[in-house]
């Protein structure tokens, strides 16, 4: 399906034919609480109660507000989240979120898109523990 814009205009969400949700934030934006709420509402709207794994493209996101991080801790229709970034700043932001909050579902940070995709579709990998992060093992070293 076509990407739908997140209200607020800072990102887009796509439910791909293979069942993967793809949330793409624009570069150099600050994700505020309202943006986070709008994104989660869109996720729930597209999923219609059926959980899907989600890839969050956060490469070059400038910052995530405290309120936004709190919103991302609330359960939604994503059942597995891969945070995809590239820079040391992305890593820090992801780590900060995973360290200070308890994600509602298995969540990991990746710098490799392919590894992230592989993890999202690999339902046998249940090695997630809340707050574990584990980003080094997943390609960010």
């Amino acid at each position: 399906m076509e990407p739908v814009e997140i209200p607020g205009g800072k990102g887009r969400l796509t439910l791909r034919p293979d069942g993967l949700l793809h949330l793409q934030w624009d570069e150099r934006i600050v994700v505020e609480g309202a943006d986070a709420k709008a994104a989660m509402a869109k996720v729930n709207e597209l999923c219609q109660g059926t959980p899907h794994p989600m890839l969050v493209d956060m490469a070059s996101t400038k910052a995530t507000s405290r309120e936004a991080r709190a919103v991302f801790s609330i359960p939604c229709d994503a059942n597995r989240i891969a945070l995809l970034g590239s820079s040391p700043v992305d890593r820090l932001l992801a780590n900060f979120f995973l360290g200070l909050h308890t994600p509602p579902c298995p969540t990991r940070f990746f710098t490799s898109r392919s590894e992230a995709m592989a993890w999202l579709v690999d339902s046998t990998d249940e090695g997630w523990t809340p707050g574990s992060g584990d980003m080094r093992r997943r390609g960010l070293s």
Binding site: R28, S60, K62, A63, R66, S86, S87, P88, V89, D90, R91, L92, L93, F96, L100
Partner: protein, 510 residues
């Protein structure tokens, strides 16, 4: 504009972001948690450090806010607790009224004429003793509610302790204070219902009005309140200076009463109880008199309440019982042929609660060779309020001894006929207040007849006291009243005249 990243040759130390970062950290360290550094678009390690410092500063800011909120919340809680504790220190916990301490504080701040109304419940001890402390507490709460409803918003009702309350009226006149006291007295006229028990909770009140001298107002109101008690209770007395003399007199009487007991100054006189059908005397009631060395004969109304207050009533009662039983023993020896008659002795509520009373009476009867059936104990109905109480058990034991029991002053308390049926009593003495007008008031005569009928229906015999005229005696006889006593038949006589008087009844009526 974001600073540009340094080129490798210049090295990180020359990167302007580093200088900004150092400054921001110094600002943060000084306590300004709003300091932030804008990261560059490079997103490199230095930007990661900058972002991390920004995020940590933000978290620290929120931690501080939450901490401050928590401190504010806890401080507010402590202040509330402190206020509650302060309130407790000046409040009577049971009734929620101000206590003596705060009333005194308020009173000492008064600038003009002040009135204190001292309020003391009339029979609270009996309520507590017979119905239990829970009932007593309920009565106190209700009394405090009624007192508050009787005063104005500017007046202060306080509980001083026990069954003692005080009302403080500032900037007032005697007339106004008495009006308020009357309203308070009226408010206590209706019985207090506790479960299925209806309790009379009237009070005696003393009023003192004058300059705002708290200790004096309290002392005077207290003296006036005791005067109200001695004048029949459920009444108001305004303090007058001559009451101080009465108080002194009372203190003197109290001291003398102690020695009177040791010196055997208390003597008994006896009033015949007459069988209205046969005209024979069937018994005599022992009545105590104080043969005072200087004041002459003092009637019991002047010293029994003092004896009760002083706790001397037990010794006094013991002395009266022994004298009466010993006297009966002497009469039996002296006139063995005279038809059997009984001696009636009044027993106070306090004596009835004395453990071992039954043993003492049994032993005394034995000592003087008096058959238990010759003794009738008269008990005021106000002590007979509850079933299963210690008093009720004592009555049962006395009855087992073979002693007869008579309920005294019937018609002045709260007894119900159905309850009388459960008591181990054989006779009921109808109070003289009920029969004083039967010869002039047909309605009252009809009422007394109904009471006599009820007593008879309950399987009890009635004795009417205070019969003063032949007409009253005739009417009572016509109503089927079995026994009576009073001046019409005989005034109380000293023991040495009793046999002669009794013989006179037998001779006169055949």
């Amino acid at each position: 504009m974001d600073p540009s990243p340094p080129d490798d040759e210049r090295g990180i130390l020359s990167d302007p972001r580093l200088q900004k970062l150092v400054e921001a950290i110094l600002t943060l360290a000084s306590g300004d948690l709003s300091a932030r550094v804008e990261p560059s678009e490079a997103g490199d390690e230095l930007d990661a450090v900058i972002t991390g410092v920004n995020l940590l500063a933000e978290e620290l800011h929120y931690v501080y806010i939450e901490l401050e909120e928590r401190v504010d919340e806890r401080t507010a809680m402590l202040l509330r607790t402190q206020a509650e504790l302060e309130q407790l220190a000046v409040t009577d916990v049971l009734t929620g009224l101000p206590n003596r301490s705060i009333l005194s504080n308020i009173a000492t701040r008064a600038a003009h004429e002040t009135a204190v109304i001292m309020v003391d419940l009339d029979s609270f001890k009996e309520i507590n003793d017979t119905l239990g402390h829970d009932t007593g507490d309920t009565v106190l709460v209700e009394v405090s509610r009624r007192l508050k409803s009787a005063v104005r918003g500017s007046d202060v009702v306080a509980r001083l302790g026990g069954d003692e309350f005080a009302i403080l009226i500032r900037d007032t006149t005697e007339q106004e204070a008495v009006q308020i006291a009357r309203r308070a007295l009226d408010a206590l006229q209706e019985n207090v219902s506790v479960g299925d028990v209806s309790v009379r909770a009237t009070a005696s009140m003393g009023v003192s009005v004058g300059p705002p001298d708290w200790p004096q107002r309290v002392r005077d109101a207290d003296i006036a309140m005791y005067e109200a008690k001695s004048r029949g209770r459920n009444t108001i007395q305004i303090f007058r200076p001559d009451m101080l003399d009465a108080t002194t007199e009372r203190a003197k009487t109290a001291a003398e009463l102690r020695t009177a007991l040791q010196r055997d100054e208390l003597e008994l006189v006896y009033q015949p109880v007459v069988d209205l059908g046969s005209g024979h005397a069937v018994g005599v009631e022992a009545l105590v008199r104080w043969n005072h060395p200087t004041r002459g004969v003092v009637m019991p109304g002047s010293f029994i309440p003092i004896a009760e207050d002083l706790g001397l009533i037990v010794d006094l009662g013991r002395s009266v019982l022994e004298q009466a039983i010993a006297q009966m023993g002497a009469w039996v020896d002296e006139a063995p042929d005279l038809p059997a008659f009984t001696v009636h002795v009044n027993l106070s509520a306090t004596e009835l609660r004395r453990p071992g009373l039954d043993r003492d009476i049994g032993s005394c009867l034995k000592t003087y060779g008096v058959h238990p059936s010759r003794l009738v104990l008269e008990i005021t109905e106000t002590v007979l309020m509850t079933r299963g109480s210690e008093e009720a058990r004592m009555l049962g034991r006395l009855n087992d001894l073979g002693v007869s029991l008579q309920i005294d002053d019937f018609g002045t308390g709260y007894s119900s006929i159905s309850y009388l049926r459960d008591l181990p009593a054989q006779t009921v003495k109808v109070d003289q207040s009920l029969i004083s007008t039967i010869d002039s008031d047909p309605d009252q005569a009809q009422f007394v007849e109904a009471i006599l009928h009820l007593i008879s229906s309950a399987g009890l015999s009635a004795v009417v006291e205070g019969v003063e005229t032949a007409r009253q005696a005739e009417l009572l006889r016509g109503m089927g009243c079995p026994y009576a006593q009073g001046f019409y038949f005989s005034r109380p006589v000293p023991p040495e005249r009793v046999l002669e008087v009794l013989a006179g009844f037998s001779a006169a009526r055949g």
